[in-house]
Amino acid sequence: METNNHSIETKNLSLWYGDFQALMDVSVNIPSGKITALIGPSGCGKTTLLRCFNRVNERYGNVTTKGEIKILGKNIYDPDVSLLELRKTVGMVFQRPNPLPISVYENILFGLRIHSPFGSLTRNQADEIVEEALTSVFLWDDLKDKLKARATSLQLEQQQKLCIARLLPLKPQIILMDEPCSALDAKGTLAVEELMGILAGKYTFLIVTHNMAQARRVSTECIYMFLGELIEHRETQALFETPEHPKTADYVQMRYG
């Protein structure tokens, strides 16, 4: 069955900000449990496409969408879809690490707390969940003595890993990443990439990146977008080595612009 292989499927997806069309007839299938990279020049709709998948676009004002988006086989524009549940399943990591201005501990629990009745989480459960989430992103050893520290005071690399860890207690299926490494140094970038490699399989990753070396390193499939259109979507190696579309070739061989 197709839905087993594809976590995200869109058909003829178009999107407008007011009168400006940001996405044009995008049809794409994102494989489950793999890392897919989304590349292309700035302002070509990569982030917009990402934001479609948890419908958070609609919080940003005057947005119109047309076409179909299926997440895990379910059309997310069906009337019985709860946006809040959708956003639990489809997590997002941002360009600039954005831990909330509360403690590390409460950052991890924030998602669970807003989705469960007040006081339903016992102290022991909470402790376990925090340890598990931080362990999965290899932060437990660094932060186990700093759980009460403000998350915004951590190093950037730790902040970004925390932002990934924060999604995990909600048991997401898909993690969208919007240039997750562009604020990090080389070491932080590698650490986050490594983490994605380890977590892939358990989660489906879709990562927007401007760093083509990164796209090649981390992704199995790669999508090239240009001015709101999907130009080419193939296996990463094939896309970089034998691009089919001349625009893709220009971009991946740095002849763009």
């Binding site: 005057n62 809040l84 959708l86 956003r87 997002m92 954005n98 831990p99 201005p101 924030f110 403000r150």
Partner: protein, 305 residues
């Protein structure tokens, strides 16, 4: 090495004529701005100093806690002092929730459309309306139309209408200062707008919001026009030392109006009394402002990002 200058390394960093001129102009402006700053502080110090000097003979705790006597030629300030407190407190109890929550709605919920544009336009214009116009509106709307009569309630509502737009504006500023990325983080974890506001936006903007509200105390306490026709009276004796001496359907005395009365309408007032009244008015406002600053510093230590 290919040198593109004839100057020897010895003289390379010595000051040129243009450099000397730039340094001179730099100093002129630095001193100019400093003098302007002094000019700003000077009147404040002079006013307070002069008031204190003139008021010294009458200042005492009794002055605060006794009613005016002998047709306001002697005695204390109890009735006007308590009246001002009533007016300010009641007006803020009305204006603060309406102002703060409407700013939250405009900032956190409303999309940019014709409705929000009209509201914002109204806020800006309302803030620019002279207080005497608010007074006339208060007479028409609260005293006559709503049938409240001349009362603390009617006067307070008039003051509330006057302070409302400024509270909305300052709350909006405070909310805008909370980075958008915090909201995005919450939304993408499936938080509703209310959860985002309750858990992240309000805790991080509360210091700014409270400061904006408290600063309106001084405006509400100082205004004379809006209360003159809506609830403040020239003279009214009340039980001394009883903080519940006024009922909100009563008329009341107020410091600002009292100061006007005894300075211009009553002959032979004991010399220190108008100055003492001014000191009490200015002093209580400064006290409240100082409290606002302390509160803000305290709340700010709890937020860091």
């Amino acid at each position: 090495m290919d040198s593109n200058t004839d100057i020897s390394p010895e003289l390379m960093f010595t000051e040129t004529d243009i450099g000397r001129r730039n340094r001179f102009v730099e100093n002129v402006f630095k001193i100019f701005f400093f003098i302007m700053t002094c000019l700003m502080i000077l009147p404040l110090l002079l006013i307070i100093g002069y008031l204190f000097y003139k008021a010294l003979p009458v200042l005492s705790l009794d002055f605060l806690f006794t009613n005016p006597k002998d047709n306001m030629r002697a005695g204390g300030l109890w009735a006007p002092f308590l009246g001002t407190i009533y007016l300010v407190v009641v007006s803020l109890l009305v204006a603060a929730p309406i102002g703060v929550f409407s700013a939250v709605y405009l900032n956190e919920y409303a999309r940019e459309n014709w409705f929000t544009r009209i509201v914002n336009l109204a806020v800006v214009n309302l803030a620019g309306v002279p207080s005497i116009v608010h007074a006339l509106f208060g007479v028409g709307a609260f005293v006559l139309f709503a049938g409240l009569g001349e009362s603390i309630l009617a006067a307070s509502l008039t003051l509330a209408i006057m302070t409302l737009p400024v509270i909305i504006a300052s709350t909006t500023e405070a909310l805008k200062a909370v980075p958008m990325s915090f909201r995005e983080a919450c939304w993408n974890l499936g938080a509703t707008r209310w959860q985002t506001i309750r858990r992240i936006v309000l805790p991080n903007s509360i210091s700014g919001i409270l400061t904006g509200v408290i600063l309106q105390v001084s405006r509400a306490a100082g205004e004379t026009a809006p209360i003159m026709f809506t609830g403040a009276v020239f003279y009214k004796a009340i039980a001394e030392g009883n903080v519940f001496a006024y009922n909100i359907t009563d008329q009341c005395m107020a410091l600002s109006l009292h100061l006007y009365t005894i300075s211009t309408q009553v002959p032979d007032v004991t010399e220190g009394i108008p100055y003492g009244t001014a000191i009490v008015l200015v002093g209580s406002v400064l006290l409240v402002n100082a409290a606002a600053i302390v509160l803000r510093v305290y709340l700010r230590t709890r937020k860091r990002w």
